[in-house]
Symmetry: none
Subunit: 432 residues, 2 copies
């Protein structure tokens, strides 16, 4: 081991199946997250194919810029597993056989009543000055080496092997920079665009501010990420994050539905549960997606009663008691304020719930018209003893994105009612 602190790290993933897109690399994400929480900043991820020169060259390049490299993959027994050779090449060392490793690999097989295939002996090789890391969940030992002033850890690719070795062999040997604390916090919004949120946050998003505030958007949810990095104690850093989080809520609180792992369904279910109220749905264009979202969290049965999938017009009438004249020639039609309201009110009665959401729209790609283009969605919320809330949206994107957004907008309407923030206009909602 070198003795400098591990301030910065780079992650290296190895394998043709990764560079060619047959397999999705999931190791780099959790390793980067774990390093960040320890105070080590990952500044680059690289994926290289099973190519000795490219692999060794990348190790040398990364070693010259970071304090720590964690690599995954390329430690198997076959001819295309080149991590041992690439590391030795980058170090300018020969590979030697590690007797302890060899005994462990052999014991892996004999413990399962098999003889070690001859090809597995290569897994016990290591660069002369490197150290082998024991793998209790597979045959591939890991490696720990110094490449100049950079510490290098090589783990096998399968997450089921890499994760336990990360915890047992890497974490105890890490040296996060002393006196540097890294703490993060994330707030999720729905219904406000990323640029509008940034405009509201204003100076909070300055790149030289601490804690740093950034936004990311995914599937309509715009998340506000807070990160502190500095000399404070973890407790003081958390207090600073809490203060910034309060500022964010002060500027955009009517859109902040949750923090951390919380989803929009989680937020709605928690509020309804706390109020002791039951929820139902009547779905047309979303075909069940809204019910599916509401039943994704465990324990949904305490809040979600059931629903009606009224995909066809005849079902709107038969199941949700929608007046057939609304759907007949000359009426407002299936995608209209009147029908959305009738669906929500019909569902409230038929399902015997406290709140019923109804969604009817044109998800496309066909079925649009000049007056009701693809993406037109009406959403209604009827509540026992409360007025109805009905809104028109113009969603964009492909069929799946329109349906997903429609369900989230419906959930946001129910969230607004349950929190009492009122009928705040949502992104993609049109003027009445």
């Amino acid at each position: 081991m070198t003795t400098t602190a591990h301030g910065t790290s780079a992650l290296l993933s190895v394998g043709d199946e990764l560079t060619l897109g047959q397999t999705l690399d999931t190791n780099s994400r959790w390793i980067a997250e774990a390093l960040r929480d320890l105070g080590v900043m990952t500044v680059e991820h690289v994926t290289v194919p099973d190519d000795l020169a490219a692999h060794a060259g990348t190790l040398r390049r990364l070693a010259s810029k970071v304090d720590l490299i964690v690599s995954t993959g390329g430690l198997g027994p076959t001819a295309d597993d080149l991590t041992r050779q690439a590391l030795a090449g980058a170090m300018g060392e020969k590979l030697i056989e590690d007797e302890v490793s060899l005994a462990q690999v052999r014991a892996w097989f004999t413990g399962r009543g098999r003889e070690m295939p001859a090809i597995n002996a290569v897994q016990a090789l290591r660069p002369a000055s490197a150290m082998a890391l024991r793998n209790l969940h597979g045959t591939a030992p890991g490696l720990k080496a110094c490449l100049g002033a950079c510490d290098v850890f090589c783990l096998p690719g399968p997450p089921g092997e890499a994760r336990p070795m990360w915890a047992s062999c890497v974490v105890p040997r890490l040296r996060p920079p002393p006196g540097r604390t890294v703490r993060t916090r994330v707030l999720h919004t729905f219904g406000i665009g990323e640029s509008d949120l940034a405009t509201r946050l204003g100076a909070l998003m300055a790149r030289d501010r601490s804690p740093l505030v950034g936004t990311t958007a995914s599937g309509g949810v715009v998340s506000c990420r807070l990160r502190y990095e500095g000399p404070l104690t973890p407790e003081d850093a958390d207090a600073l994050l809490a203060s910034t989080a309060r500022e964010v809520r002060g500027l955009a609180g009517e859109f902040v539905f949750g923090e951390g792992d919380a989803t929009l369904p989680d937020a709605v279910l928690a509020l309804a549960r706390a109020a002791g109220q039951m929820v139902g749905v009547v779905e047309s264009c979303t075909g069940g997606m809204l019910g599916q979202m509401l039943t994704e969290p465990a324990g949904a049965s305490r809040v979600f009663m059931g629903g009606l999938l009224t995909y066809s017009n005849s079902m709107k009438t038969a199941l949700a008691a929608v007046d057939p004249t609304l759907l007949a020639e000359g009426g407002p039609g299936a995608v209209s304020e009147e029908t959305a309201l009738a669906m929500a009110r019909g569902g409230l009665e038929r399902l015997g719930v406290d709140h019923c959401l109804a969604v009817t729209g044109i998800a496309g790609p066909g079925g649009g018209s000049a007056i009701k283009p693809v993406g037109t969605v009406w959403i209604a919320l009827a509540s026992r003893g409360g007025g109805a809330d009905v809104r028109r949206f113009r969603m964009s994107g492909a069929r799946g994105a329109i349906r997903d957004w429609a369900c989230k907008a419906a959930l946001a309407m129910l969230w607004q009612r349950l929190t009492g923030v009122g009928a705040v206009k949502l992104l993609r909602q049109e003027q009445p």
Copy 2:
């Protein structure tokens, strides 16, 4: 554009949320796969943070070793979106405003009844010699530039924007190396395990065979990938793939529900449409997911009539006419053969369909018992003028995986009925 062929490529993903492990990069996988199918070999993936110097330096380094760079991310409107500046820096050019882009970004907002926030104007900037790529699904235009002899395409990070731009703006401008034919074909199965499929395929999966045959499993669907790479004409390569595909169907045809982009819902909807039959669902533990899957494909309304979400016991009785004694103390209970059958038969009547699928089970994590552990799912299919098919499954994994598998098993049962292969036992189905 340069004029050399695109023999090798590198993929660049941009963003602190990626390097720090807050978000999993999924773009690089599908872009690498799409490039490979076109004959362009990806030799490196890199992820860099929102850091101008690191970003520009990486662009220069990659441009010196590959013919093509595809980057995703960093094209948003906020201060930490640095792809435009990094590209200009690497090219040694200034950023100029692209009038057409600016009009398009503005139109994106005005088309939604909003004024363009001032900060979005930066999205219309491009390096002087670069070209803006139109984004029809978001505000961020892409960029196309030359960095020495290397062609660079920059796409926005959200896959819903990057994918359509990849198809419309990048693929038409690619120049795969001449004289090398790469053709692929993929057959999808459901209900057979990956090792069982491999055993059936036997010598077809030899690594030195051409076309190469491999299997990948994702979400219960085991896909059989055929790939030809060599000197044949595309037509001859396709003929060879067709012959191998016939061999695969000969060995495992009763599980092959489709090819290419076809999903299980696609396959079921196509068969029902051809037969002029309507389908409905009655869902308990899946809460709408089965209806959502059946309405994912466009045109589902010609087959999918509607459904009942009978999440609570009272709804099973009220909506699907399930005999309350089945659900009462001492009865077989909500998760039982009798209740599944009653749900399917009740739905067949109430919905007036030709086929009705019913799902009732314990998705967990709570609610299991020694006799009915988490993962126990009963699925019934009732058909007008046909017998009922009811099966018990033992699903494994987390709540989401159990629900997903239950829906797919239900679709597979309907697929078997519609194709007439009979009630072939599915993976995870238990003996009666």
